[in-house]
């Protein structure tokens, strides 16, 4: 089932008079940069999910908030859909443009407005890169905790829109736990402030609702984040296991020992080999699984925790436990993990990164089922796993130039996500639904739940002009998706509630 916007099942979009809109933009905002020629539009046809591309009707690149407001008002008057985009690093197609829509690029809002060390906050424009915040705060011994793998490039506005995670979520939380306040513009260009510089604000928690709302409810124009004091010390243990089950059990036992590691990552054999070939991190390539366990905090506590975790790992049957002997080795251990995606990318012309979450105890069963699906579809799958918080990233290896392989990879990916739902997990832990997982939303939620989501959307954007087709599927799409599964034979999980 095609993932690009399909008016038949995703809803009819208003026809737009492109020339008229262009003219109106030029007249009202002569300084506003607008791209409209085919060759200028090309670079904006996809985000980080590059398998799916649509050329936008127009791209606007505002430099001040008044222009953003003007564009929104004009598009609202003329009933033109608007897709907001930050750095374009999203992995679920959340910023995939529309042929009948304007792509609103917020990347030029890249100023850090104020860092207040006494308040431990940073007030930034939405196009500021995630890592740039920590770099600017470093002089005060502070940093911004959420660290998605794309942190050198991704922007904070996109992080808020997607509720971005990273490798330190178990201890430090997601974006939603680290943002104090956002300014947004509504679909008709009205400014709202959600949250505050205090720890709470009166009324409903619209800040929580907006975080992760994927550009469907408003456009983020300013963000105030919390900063934390940098941990005094961070140490990493690497443990090798001869079975994935043992590694999985070890994770539970670390938690049972009352320890919350700063980061706790697992990789399977295929991922280990790929990373080792690429980065030479010193990983044991014969291991069936490795765990990377980072302990951070005050020196004395980190030392004690390392001793405890080492004991737990040994008792859990680790074949080898290594403490990174110095900072260089710690960085190398992490470099292997952080480059696991491109490393796997070297094994295959293309790979497709999934993002399901599961209760941790389900890991052995889910990995076994993934191995089964991998055989069934004839595509290799490498697994990297934010083991601490149950977020899996199976990487499906395929070759887009071999006819049918992309489709097979997509189907396999869909099955993995449905498996996550079946064991009580979720189709997306941190990448978002976007366009990519729009069909799997039909497995995660029933029609009444989706109807409530549509109600929330209608409260802020009754005309459905902000990022149409993303995040929440229409009931029509789900009906067809369900029907398609039935037609293909058995429903994959007949006990799941469907409609």
């Amino acid at each position: 089932m095609n993932i690009l916007y399909d008016e038949r099942v995703d809803g009819v979009l208003p026809d737009v008079d492109k020339a008229g809109l262009l003219q109106a933009l030029h007249t009202q905002w002569p300084d506003l940069e607008v791209l409209h020629q085919q060759e200028e539009l090309k670079p904006y046809e996809c985000d980080g999910l590059s398998a799916y591309r649509t050329t936008p009707m127009l791209v606007v690149l505002p430099r001040d908030i008044a222009q953003v407001q003007g564009v929104l008002k004009l598009c609202h008057e003329r009933q033109v859909p608007v897709v907001a985009r930050g750095a374009g690093t999203g992995l679920s197609g959340g910023a995939l443009p529309l042929e009948k829509g304007v792509l609103l690029v917020m990347a030029r809002f890249n100023q850090i407005l104020h860092i207040d060390p006494a308040a431990r906050t940073a007030r930034v424009q939405p196009g500021v890169r995630n890592l740039a915040i920590s770099q600017a705060a470093a002089q005060f011994g502070l940093y911004y905790a959420p660290d998605p793998s794309s942190q050198i490039a991704c922007s904070i506005g996109g992080n808020v829109a997607e509720n971005a995670g990273g490798v330190h979520c178990l201890k430090y939380g997601l974006t939603v736990h680290n943002v104090l306040k956002v300014d947004i513009l509504t679909v008709d260009g009205e400014c709202l402030t959600l949250g505050s510089n205090a720890l709470d604000s009166p009324g409903l928690d619209l800040l929580a609702l907006f975080t992760g709302s994927e550009g469907m409810l408003g456009v983020i124009t300013e963000v105030t984040v919390k900063l934390l004091p940098k941990p005094q010390s961070a140490k990493v243990l690497l443990a090798a296991f001869d079975s994935v089950e043992k590694a999985g059990r070890a994770v539970g036992e670390i938690i049972a020992a009352g320890i919350i590691p700063g980061g706790l990552e697992m990789m399977d054999n295929l991922a280990i080999r790929a990373a080792e070939d690429f980065i030479h991190a010193g990983y044991p390539v014969d291991a069936e699984a490795i765990l990377l366990c980072e302990l951070d905090g005050v020196e004395a506590d980190v030392h004690d925790d390392c001793t405890r975790v080492r004991q737990v790992l040994e008792q859990a049957g680790a074949t080898e436990v290594r403490l990174a002997k110095d900072e260089a080795e710690r960085v190398r251990f992490w470099a292997g993990r952080k480059n696991a995606f491109p490393a796997v990318g070297r094994l295959s012309p293309d790979y497709y990164c999934m993002d399901g979450t599961i209760p941790r105890r389900e890991l052995p069963g889910v990995l076994k089922a993934i191995a089964g699906l991998s055989t069934e579809y004839g595509l290799r799958v490498a697994n990297v796993f934010h083991a601490g918080d149950g977020n899996m990233h199976p990487l499906i290896l395929f070759d887009a130039n071999t006819p049918g392989e992309l489709e097979r990879a997509e189907t396999l990916g869909g099955k993995i996500l449905e498996l996550c739902v079946k064991v009580g997990g979720s189709i997306t832990g941190e990448h978002g639904v976007g366009r990519e997982k729009i069909n799997q939303m039909c497995a995660q939620f029933n029609s009444d739940e989706l109807t409530l989501f549509h109600g929330i959307k209608a409260a802020f954007d009754p005309g459905g002009l902000l990022n149409p087709g993303k995040n929440i599927p229409t009931l029509h799409r789900c009906a067809e998706f369900g029907a398609m599964h039935v037609h293909a034979g058995q429903l994959p999980f007949p006990d799941l509630e469907r409609f």
């Binding site: 009324g203 004395a300 979720s426 639904v433």
Partner: protein, 354 residues
């Protein structure tokens, strides 16, 4: 009318909501009524959530607990305690029989809030009976889940105005290995300055309260970090029962006969000059005020400082929560209209317009 046995009574709750929807009867959702003094007075048919109770699942190594709304908060905390775990946001109960549902709906957090996060921060999933008469599930029992809008966290602190929360899944954490409380002799100005400095350093502070005379601190972490901080900060030992007394408003400060106000402020706001007595909690971010001052005056002063005011004295003002800017209220109403089109859930509890 309510027993103490675990029971899935969601069917009866759904039936009552559906009956109310049919007749457009306003409902007043209540557990133990321990926080009925907060917000505006609601007139409506009572829905008692206490029959729907019990812990649905708890696996300490998953760090997640799921409980029905009528489960006594004390029971939930006891179960966590037995596994050496806790709800880090330490919600106040304000009564022995306070329920889990009320804890989520009011969204109040205790002394650890600035360091650990709020009730909303620990919500992973909810089941909710909606204004369309459906019993739905949002979020789940996993730490990371960005599928769909975050309805679960929206429910935290919504005072039952968007639906009836029947079940909640919460993230929990291991208890710290070491806890130590101390008191330091310093005035409130110096306490606020010190807290602001300490906040920029990796110190294991997990509660900080100035009672008008002394600064009380709680240190939590490993043995090493707590001992090091204790050596550095000095002070006198403090009985750790102080924090529960603070959280539950059992300190003598709260006894005085004047109206009680909660001021939520940026933590580094200097001492505010206001009539009455103040007690500083949350390292400066939450301040309690016993004062006869006018609501409008307090709102203005606190608003200028970047915060907001809540009345904790029932019936004192028609708008116990700080009024919202016009545009923001319009979107609140719009959301209420979508989720509760017949306006049956706790109408007027948060604001007259909702």
């Amino acid at each position: 009318m309510h027993g103490t046995a675990d029971l899935d009574d969601s069917g009866a709750l759904l039936e009552q909501v559906n009956g109310a929807l049919e007749n457009a009867t306003p409902l007043r959702i209540q557990g133990a009524n321990s926080k009925a003094f907060l917000g505006r007075i609601v007139a409506g048919e009572i829905v008692d959530t206490r029959s729907h109770r019990g812990i649905v699942s708890y696996d300490p190594t998953e760090l997640v607990i799921t409980a029905r709304c009528g489960t006594p908060l004390a029971e939930l905390l006891q179960v966590l305690d037995a596994a050496q775990q806790m709800l880090p946001c330490e919600p106040p109960a304000f009564a022995d029989d306070a329920t889990v549902g009320g804890m989520i709906a009011c969204g109040l957090s205790g002394p650890r809030r600035p360091w650990s996060g709020s009730v909303r921060d620990y919500v992973l999933g909810t089941r909710v009976i909606t204004g369309l008469g459906k019993h739905l599930r949002f979020g789940g029992e996993v730490m990371k889940n960005v599928a769909g809008y975050d309805v679960s966290r929206l429910m935290a602190g919504s005072y039952g105005t968007l639906g009836l929360i029947t079940e909640v899944s919460l993230k929990v954490l291991p208890k710290p290995r070491k806890t130590l409380s101390i008191s330091l002799d310093m005035n409130s100005e110096r306490a606020l300055q010190s807290l602001s400095q300490w906040g920029q350093q990796p110190l294991p502070i997990s509660a900080a309260c100035h009672d008008g005379e002394r600064l009380h601190l709680r240190l939590e972490g490993g043995e090493g970090s707590v001992a090091a901080a204790r050596d550095r900060l000095g002070g006198e030992p403090l009985d750790s029962a102080f924090w529960a007394d603070l959280n539950e408003h059992h300190l003598p400060f709260f006894d005085e006969d004047q109206p009680l106000w909660r001021l939520s402020l940026p933590h580094n706001t200097p001492k505010l000059s206001l009539p009455g007595r103040q007690l500083i909690d949350w390292g400066g971010a939450q301040r309690w005020l016993k004062s006869d001052a006018e609501a409008s005056f307090l709102r203005q002063v606190v608003d200028e400082a970047g915060g907001h005011v809540t009345s904790y004295s029932h019936g004192l003002t028609d708008s116990p929560f700080q009024p919202l800017p016009v545009a923001l209220m319009r979107y609140h109403r719009s959301l209420k209209q979508q989720l509760d089109p017949r306006g049956i859930f706790n109408p007027g509890r948060l604001y007259a317009e909702l």
